[in-house]
């Protein structure tokens, strides 16, 4: 047990982050390079600047210490909720600092900076949740699970209205992992998950057609499936397609047929291109800054949400596995930090933030290789993007702070409900 978590935490968590960040910067530079060699592209400069800002914030947080920040957890949570509410309000009352992009409201304009409040929400949520759970044990009953779930559903509901499906779905795994780590009974959680799954058809009908298509694209990327779906069922020859459940309600039969026929050029465009980029990387990749997809803009958002495709394209399967390894190390160090600290709030913060980072990475990578729906979740530390980079570094700062500030506590180690757990 302890052999797995034997390394003492602290700054060492930066070790796997640096190659990720460097790979991101290299890719951003390569995809935005102009004719002049040696000159940094604007986007690269921006990314480095945000990285530096992130590291600055990280150092600041470590200096302050997570416990002092923790006292403001509810306030931070409340503030984030407020900002998210502004985005929702903008749907009806046009607020000057909320720009609308592609019919979504995800950003707050602060001067020339654009901040994504949902990124802020992620960290604030983990802090709030940990702060709520730190000295309790009532969540070990089914009823006690209600407050933490309420705490989760409020930001989720607000993000649903942005809408931002990817971020939205990130909250649930974090909640479950934190609850489970904190000692909530597995059977309760399984019950909740089962209930959630039972409600999922309801959720399915409540989302936009394009979101439904993004989810089904995991299945539709296979041409055989598309062909199968676009044929009528033998038992219902009056319906031109099968499995009506997957057809968005807003789509007519013919539109759905078109969608299936042209999937690769419409909904599946990015995924198809992403798979080509990764697949053409092969074993060793095309080399840094080389390759078709680096030179030509065949893949929209290639430096952003689909940066993993560019990593696979440039560095091949080796690059992909190394990336996974880096995230594995982050998770290991993060959880190790949680294990080694005895302070309950710190434990939950470390677990929550690590899980948050891990799930972002998994969601993004799965999206790029067609194992998951296409969502706007960036790849932590790699994707270009200000808010997410800074916030991720801040999360890292909190973990480091947890590892470094280990207050001497003369209590039992928290969340050790061992005996009952064994009985479960």
């Amino acid at each position: 047990m302890s052999s797995l978590f034997s390394t003492r935490g602290g700054w060492i968590i930066l070790l796997p982050v640096l190659p990720l960040f460097v790979a991101g910067v290299l890719t951003i530079q390569a995809t935005n390079a102009s004719d002049q060699p040696g000159q940094l592209a604007d986007e690269t400069v921006k990314q480095i600047a945000y990285g530096a800002a992130g590291i600055g914030c990280m150092i600041l947080i470590v200096t302050i210490g997570y416990l002092r920040i923790g006292r403001f957890s509810y306030i931070l949570f409340g503030l984030s909720i407020l900002v998210l509410t502004c985005l929702v309000i903008d749907r009806w009352f046009d607020l000057p600092f909320v720009p609308v992009k592609r019919n979504t409201r995800r950003w707050i304009q602060v001067g020339s900076l654009q901040v994504q409040p949902s990124e802020m929400m992620k960290v604030a949520y983990v802090l709030g949740l940990a702060w709520y759970l730190r000295y309790r044990s009532n969540y070990r009953t089914l009823l006690g699970l209600v407050p933490p779930f309420l705490l989760t559903l409020v930001p989720m509901g607000l993000i649903k209205l942005q809408p931002d499906l990817g971020t939205l779905l990130l909250f649930l795994p974090v909640l479950f992992v934190v609850l489970y780590a904190a000692g909530a009974k597995a059977k309760h959680l399984v019950t909740v998950i089962a209930m959630g799954l039972l409600c999922s058809p309801l959720f399915w009908t409540r989302i936009e057609p394009y979101q439904q298509l993004r989810i089904t694209s995991v299945m539709l990327q296979n041409k055989a499936v598309r062909d199968y779906l676009s044929k009528p069922m033998p038992s219902r020859p009056d319906l031109p397609t099968r499995w009506e459940f997957f057809r968005p309600k807003e789509f007519s039969q013919s539109r759905w047929m078109l969608e299936l026929a042209n999937w690769e050029n419409v909904t599946g465009y990015q995924l198809t291109r992403s798979k080509i980029a990764i697949g053409s990387g092969g074993l060793y990749g095309q080399g840094p800054g080389r390759g078709v997809f680096v030179k030509y803009d065949f893949l929209p958002e290639r430096h952003n949400d689909f940066i993993f495709a560019m990593i696979g394209h440039q560095w091949g399967i080796i690059g992909g596995v190394v990336t996974l390894l880096c995230y594995g190390l982050i998770v290991t160090f993060g959880y190790e930090t949680a294990v080694l600290t005895r302070e309950p709030f710190g434990r939950l913060v470390a677990v929550g933030l690590t899980t948050m980072l891990a799930f972002q990475a998994v969601t993004n990578i799965c999206m790029a290789i067609g194992l998951g729906p296409v969502t706007g979740v960036p790849l932590p530390f790699v994707s270009a993007g200000g808010s997410s980079l800074v916030i991720n570094f801040m999360a890292l700062g909190l973990i480091v702070s947890v590892a470094r500030d280990r207050p001497l506590l003369f209590t039992n180690r928290p969340f050790e409900f061992g005996t009952e757990d064994e009985e479960d």
């Binding site: 797995l4 604007d42 026929a261 419409v266 053409s280 030509y296």
Partner: protein, 717 residues
Amino acid sequence: MFERRLRLIMVFMVIPVVAVIARLVQLQIVEGDQYANKAEALLIKPMRLYPCLRGEIVDAEGMRLAYDAESWDICVHYGILSEAEDHLRAMARERLWRRGVPRTADNVAEEMHKLTIEINESWHAIARLTGKQVEDLDAVREKRLRQVQRIKEAVTQRRKIDTVVDEERTVHPIVQGLNHQMCVEAKVQLADYPWVEVLVSHTRRYEGGDAMGHLYGTLNEVGPDDLRGDANTADILSRYLLGDLIGRTGLERLGERWLRGRRGCEQEDLRGVPTTQPVAPVDGNTMRLSLNLRLQQYCYHRLKAAVREHPPSTGGAAVILDIPTRRVLALVSYPAFDPNLPDAERAKLATQDPFGQPHVFRAVHQPYPPGSTIKALVLPSALTEGKVGPGTTYECIGYLFPGLPNRWQCDARRAHGTVDPILAVQKSCNVFFYHVGENMGLANLVKWMDRFGFGRVTGIGLIEDATGTLPQLRRDMGAGPARLAAIGQGEVSATPLQLANMMATVASGVWKPVTIWPDNPDQSLRSYELPIPAANWRLVREGLYKVVNEQGGTAYGPLRAKLAGEEKFVLLGKTGSAEAPALERLYRCRFPDGTEKTMKARTFRELRNRYPEGHKPEYISQEDAQDYPTHGWFVGYLTTRGRYLEPAVNGELNVAIAVIVEYAGHGGAVAAPVAWDMLQALITLHRGGTIETAPADESISRPANAVTDAAGEEERP
């Protein structure tokens, strides 16, 4: 226990990691090559196609008749035509990128503004250069946009998805038909505007003027049906693409596959590496006609003169065939039109001149009653069938049945007396042929008409080639239809080309398909010898000789003086005066001053239009015009003097001719001189002489102009 739970969570996290690695192995190693190929395929740019020239059409002497003339077009890119902001933005960004300026929103906006000004300048530059107004260019621009939009709609409809069509990525001609000097100027002056290109292009030009009007036919852009019916769909270089031209009628259609070349291509990927071997365009083949342009033009103008000399004649046609080969030497139809007339103008021809019908290719497309000319066919048939012998005689009293002088009349309504076969042909005695028809029966006559090529295509290959009609066989119809058919009236009809070929058959004893293009690879009709003994042919030829060359022949009078000078060749032939429905009616009408008059006119409206407002007559009644002129036919052939009874195949000059002048009266008086003039021109050409291909007054009298024609007729009476 906290540790244990975390470890469990980590174990669960291994599941997605394993899945991701497995997927990476699948994508990058198992299917890696496949995806690498797909990545390469993304680089491929659309194939660049180079147009080829359509083949030339030349006449027998090698004179160029139809060709693709080189010209230049000023073309503008679609993105500029559509003024799409996206395109402008992309251009602005590219320009900034080329200069290494950061592509910030402000910079791009500024660059877009500059671009807009430059685009405006370029329109003015084009206008200045070509001497057009910017508004005119704007109209063309909108037309192009509409065209592309239509293509886009069609593609969208077919593919059922909004797609970017190739036309949206290319340049479109704005000003067409620049000459070389203007092209150079344009290239220099418009060099600063990369979205404007001066591209070489071609315009189909036709030589020969009105004389060749019908022959070339129409050439226009392919439509969806042509694309679907294309035999070369597999070969992108040969197949039809939108915007390609296809021959619809006439020679352009006949030679479509021959004239159509193969376009060239070049393909490279985004890196500039050629992906296929470049292919040079191959121009179309030259289509060499058997036609002689000079003769054609002479014939056209001679025919035109004949039509104009004989009101109310509406038109005519003439065909000259080489007998041994059945090559067409001249194929003339009047009225005609300028072959360079745009399609839109051609479509108006029929309504502009409803009686002249200049759009009809009379020589091959218009079946006429053959009239007495058919006797050259009926006599050898009857002789061969044994229905009439060389010594058979019938008594002609001017009509068939004594006591019924108004029915079954003879041509001249004069008694020919005792008529033998030769005399019957010479004098064109209807009564004799009434008997022959009666003896043969309609079925027999139809069989022989078919053998002489009636009711069938001639094999010339033109889409206009009409079959004409054969009399229908009905039960219990008596001898009437057979009698009528034997004098070429009633249900039988034939085109001038068919009659010329009939005469060539009489001259040689062999039916052959007619050809205007000796190299035609699609000739499927076979020639055959008619089962007629030589003695019968001689008898018929004797008759045909006497028609032209002996006192009493129907064409002897008008031709006697003209033929006097010709020593070497002799003309044989048969005249015909075919009755046809009158074009005019007698209108009884009352004028405002109370007078009543009966007047001849084609329509009452035309009659009213002759008078100014206030003097226009009122309609009372109408009736058929009596004694309306017949179609004048002359069908004959030229052969060597002294050997005219033998098959006309080995002589120096053996040509068959058919001339019809519509509603012009007696064939011998009207058509025979025309035919002889044409043949004389041919003989002159044959002897190396020159002929006048266009009369001096050609410049003032344009055909296909209903207004001046009507005015001219008014003056004549």
